[in-house]
Symmetry: C2
Subunit: 456 residues, 2 copies
């Protein structure tokens, strides 16, 4: 049988293998030096990008080059053309959203992951990738005190982990709604929409926690309840034990979104936050949020892997048969292509160890409390929500517009970056600590900038 006719005019070109590893050694040293320099000088860069829409793209060639260019050109353009358009999430005074760190062991592990370039879709396509994923998730499970016997795997983000949970729940109760608090992350509503379920937002108490009485009134026939341990606005913790009671009575799937705060449970004194999570059907914790692992790495555990398997398994002809005694991770989530993310999580857990992680988390909480104490001591300012972890919600005494202008002014200094939310209809500022290089002086500088901006 001959090749397809449309290619009869194909003229083979003699290939010169572009496989000069010596060039990679040079380029790799330059890239490592770039990263090291970046980590040292990022503190001096403006945290927030100061560019107008289209400005960065306007500096770049509109079409790809015909001939290859040296990798050094990428590094040069990264410095000269791209960095002005980067908001530096890895900056010690990045206090927005959930501040996070791509730590050095995680950064280097990404290099290794890309070099190996394996696909952990099924066990046989790289046994070590599947087994290390199981092991790393079990290590993390132990670190945060979840019970034994859970099935764990890695998704890219909590958005996907929640999609996985809700797809499994929907298949068990196709018509049921998804119930969550009005403080839940919007990925819950997005996931429900994707799998075709109605999502209902339930009211919270004065400390922004899902009200069990409101849930009890609505839970009949629900497919799933998503409880949050560390909500995105205030890091409030829903009363998971009471929610678990209700879910057990009604048969609804309980998914616990501990994407941010789950990492805190590495410290004994924060284990309370995961109370009841042992009764969840699924639980997600993002090591890329507060466990020093570069984007993306979202840990999903379930005690009902059979339900995930039913929602996602498929065995096409071109995939090897399942070896006996193993699981194929493609059967537990939407994607067939699965990066070797376990390697970076494992590298980070080893590099810091339990104590190192505890030290960092405790320091971040200490800094957040210190900041809150300054805010509380100033009559022109108020803390507007409890701050159980490393995020403080607060505001200046003025109107919403004044707070909004104040935030803009602080961020425009380039010295610190904070984000905002709305609570009870009011515009609220948020300071989130999470970078491994953030010091007390950094937090103090943020407070100084805020007061200066208020005074202006």
């Amino acid at each position: 049988m001959s090749a397809d006719r449309p290619n009869e005019d194909f003229v083979p070109v003699k290939h010169k293998p572009d496989s000069d590893v010596d060039q990679f050694r040079q380029d790799g040293e330059a890239a490592v030096a770039w990263v090291a320099d970046y980590l040292e000088r990022v503190r001096e860069l403006p945290v927030q990008a100061r560019v107008k829409p289209g400005e960065i793209r306007g500096t770049l060639p509109p079409s790809p080059p015909d001939r290859g260019e040296p990798f050094a050109a990428v590094l040069t353009d990264l410095d000269e053309l791209l960095l002005p358009g980067i908001t530096h999430w890895n900056h010690p005074r990045f206090f927005g959203y959930f501040a996070n760190s791509g730590s050095e062991p995680g950064i280097l592990a990404e290099l290794l992951i890309a070099a190996l370039n394996v696909n952990a879709m099924v066990w046989t396509t790289s046994p070590a990738a599947t087994e290390l994923e199981e092991l790393a998730l079990d290590w993390l499970r132990q670190l945060i005190g979840l019970p034994e016997g859970l099935h764990g795997h890695i998704e890219d983000t909590a958005s996907t982990a929640t999609i996985v949970a809700l797809a499994a729940a929907r298949d068990l109760r196709p018509g049921g709604a998804v119930l969550t608090s009005e403080q839940a992350n919007f990925s819950v509503a997005k996931a429900a929409r994707l799998v075709g379920l109605e999502c209902r937002s339930l009211p919270v108490d004065s400390e922004f926690r899902l009200r069990p009485d409101a849930l009890a009134a609505e839970i009949e026939g629900a497919a799933a309840v998503v409880a949050t341990v560390g909500t995105t606005s205030t890091t409030s913790v829903d009363p998971v034990p009471e929610i678990a009671d209700l879910c057990e009575q009604s048969g609804a799937w309980l998914h616990v979104d501990a994407a941010y705060a789950g990492s805190a449970a590495v410290c004994e004194e924060f284990r309370w936050a995961l109370a009841g999570a042992d009764r969840a059907d699924s639980i997600v914790v993002n090591p890329h949020k507060w466990l020093f692992t570069p984007f993306d790495c979202s840990a999903l555990w379930t005690r009902r892997p059979d339900a995930l398997f039913r929602a996602f398994s498929a065995d096409p002809e071109y995939i090897p048969e399942r070896a006996s005694g193993v699981i194929d991770l493609k059967d537990y989530g939407p994607a067939l292509g699965r990066r070797f993310r376990a390697l970076k999580l494992w590298a980070v857990l080893r590099a810091y160890g339990r104590e190192g992680l505890q030290d960092l988390i405790r320091e971040h909480v200490r800094l957040a409390r210190l900041f809150a104490s300054w805010v509380e001591a100033d009559p022109d300012w108020e803390v507007v929500a409890p701050y159980p972890f490393s995020v403080v919600c607060f505001r200046w005494q003025g109107e919403d517009e004044a707070n909004e202008a104040l935030l803009r002014r602080v961020n425009e200094t380039g010295e610190a970056f904070l984000s905002h939310t709305r609570l009870n209809g009011r515009y609220v500022l948020r300071l989130a600590v999470g970078n491994l290089r953030t010091t007390e002086a950094d937090v103090a500088r943020a407070w100084e900038l805020l007061r200066e901006a208020a005074a202006a």
Copy 2:
């Protein structure tokens, strides 16, 4: 307002910042050296892992360390404990599935991505990340000859890109089915299941292409049709122009899955494969399959971004308002967290340039055709499907079991790795060329191993 009561016993621990960048310089040099050595010696390693289930995990500590360890320990264990369990996807004689390469510029770009660790969720959270994503997708669009004016963004895998397309299609026609050929990737059925649509597999012609007459008979009221350009088993190309006619008449969404073969269109002589794709509502091409970009990087274009926006947009309180004149990429797909994947695609496109990519693709096609010519010239073997690109489906004259045993024997040598599929009920071997270091001698060795295994 005070911190949550459960933490009253919290004792702050003085934090010693783990921010020794000099250590990173050392570790980084070691990691680059490891990767360089790996790329040089991977050719000598057994392609397929030779381990039993649980064997790798059994060599690793069951619990995480209490105290941190040096990064050098990760490299040592990677060599000694993990590599025996790795099937080397980056090996020049990895001919399974779709062979692929994590090329050097892409590998180094992953290091940079992890160091910057930005989240490209909205434009303001890192303008350069959004704008480079738009630019890199436009460069790739130009390289493969798609029309101007498409909205492009990056998803992790084609599985997710197809989910995005089908969610948009479902919202336009909630009750309609998804139609695709029986040769489509199983991610289509998985995506349909996830978004709650029925998926119907339609028959193919003798060259494994979707039959337009079968589609015409079923298309009434369908929500979407997924046409494949380069099916997973044989790389057959569905007749997209005829399919587009039918979709336009019926109003069904046309999604073109060109995950593998779309990259071939970088060469003029393979542009035929994308004929009609300019009329698709959405089209996906995976640079991580045949464009030398490390996992994961899946390019999705659409001419109906409004439909994606309706399916995925959401504006929670804690995300900055959309700046005027920009788009926020979180509104076009399921995940809020979005890695700076554009940087690696951009680095690869620049490093190779149009001509470098053409050379590699042409060489891979030449090698596949050469292999096919050897198979065709041997009366004991047959090529069982057209081979328009770099994948050859073939079999030995014996029964299915004999072919299966033969494949096992070849893979067990460790010298080459091939995978299989089934066509017309028969077990079929597949040789896929895609690694940038694969030479004619590598393909010749695979053929030698196959004949030796058949003779055994």
